[in-house]
Symmetry: C2
Subunit: 218 residues, 2 copies
DNA sequence: ATCTACAAGATGGTATACCATTTAGGAACT
DNA sequence: AGTTCCTAAATGGTATACCATCTTGTAGAT
């Protein structure tokens, strides 16, 4: 039985991460414990824990006695991000091609269906969340726990990038089509092929993101 | 000016991680905050932070109201670990082949020299630490910040594996020879070749580790 | 004998106060 | 005017107490 009021530690984390994604807290801003505690009406303890978690995920960097600064995602960092993600997503999909079951495919298809609805409804923030969930699911279902943990971190960063820098602008339909192609490749059961399709997808996403960053004001 | 007494949070983390590596705290054991606080003579606060960090690194898993349990590294987990590491170390070395400078090579060579000394002196625990530092340096020098963060986590896990399961038993000399080959490949500047040498090294380490796990009592 | 319910202990989460360290700004001196 | 030193404020770290929740064992009922 899940209660409404989650533990504050998580609530604070969610609030801060969301505020950063929405741009209410900008890159370079510093989070100070006492400040936030007062503003959110809680003690420093849950704030500390939330900031630790943000640090863990690479969202802020803590400089002693200067506060935790929200990272700035430069074009270089974005390139590094996608570089690693290409490898890992390739591996996840390769493994999935070898071990996939009907239930797995059903779950994955579910994300795509929901994504299509959100895309049509232009609910871009929710679309972004669903796409995140899709990629995380690929990692989780691959059965490699490390892939899952790492992809979670990378996805957190990518969401940050998408929202703060790219203002959610995506290529929603092409993106979804590529996701479908990944699922088809998994169904074929050919690890090499599935891996190459997944890598292609990540490269496309990277190209798009880099172009946006180059245009937009970073 | 660095003082002797580091912050307790880190001291507690170091103590716990070390105790786990030494087997004083075994896989499956639970860490409870009050318990440790009393035994180490500090308050729960630094204990909490240390446990969080252990959790972050995947060393313990926190189950609500049951304490933080030290993970059990099964053969499957070890295989997953090396699977991911092969990809990432391959990427790191590929990049290094393209961007390496004299200073970088000097640093890397330094690790190998120190490793040889420790190997000859049979100081196996210190050897293990130096090898960790070598691999972490590869990731760091590659210039991809994500590689560095991720490799740090993987290395933490591998150290755990080496000590708890493999009792430091290694193939120290072969290992060092392979490290030398990696450096030579980097110097040649051929990314593809360097990557393949690095991947080969990780696969060898994996084979050795898996064999040991199969023999030894896990 | 088994099941239920409840109470006590264990565990985690939060609030608060205090201490340590660092930073930053200004006063005093040259 | 520039430099040095010192102090106050900011920030982080730690200790402690209290509260909420969950687990577990046991007493009582059936």
């Amino acid at each position: 039985m899940k209660l409404i009021s989650e533990v504050k530690k998580n609530a604070v984390y969610d609030y801060l991460y969301s505020a950063i994604r929405k741009g209410e807290i900008k890159a370079g801003d510093t989070l100070t414990e006492r400040d936030l505690a007062e503003r959110l009406g809680v003690s420093r303890t849950p704030i500390r824990e939330a900031i630790r978690k943000l640090e863990e995920q690479g969202v802020v960097i803590h400089e002693p006695h200067k506060g935790a600064k929200v990272i700035t995602l430069s074009a270089e960092k974005a390139a590094e991000l996608y570089e690693v993600r290409e490898l890992l997503e390739g591996l996840a999909v390769r493994k999935l091609a070898q071990i996939h079951t009907a239930e797995m495919m059903e779950e994955l298809t579910g994300y795509i269906e929901r994504a299509e609805k959100k895309a049509l409804a232009k609910e871009i923030e929710k679309l972004s969340d669903i796409n995140s969930a899709f990629h995380l699911a690929l990692a989780r279902l691959s059965g490699n726990i490390y892939l899952e943990v790492i992809m979670n971190m990378l996805q957190t960063q990518i969401n940050l990038l998408m929202t703060t820098s790219l203002s959610y602008s995506g290529r929603p339909l092409e993106n979804i089509e590529e996701h479908k192609k990944i699922l088809e490749a998994i169904k074929l059961g050919d690890g090499d092929f599935a891996e190459s399709v997944a890598k292609y997808h990540v490269r496309q996403a990277k190209i798009h993101a880099m172009k946006k960053i180059a245009e937009g004001g970073m």
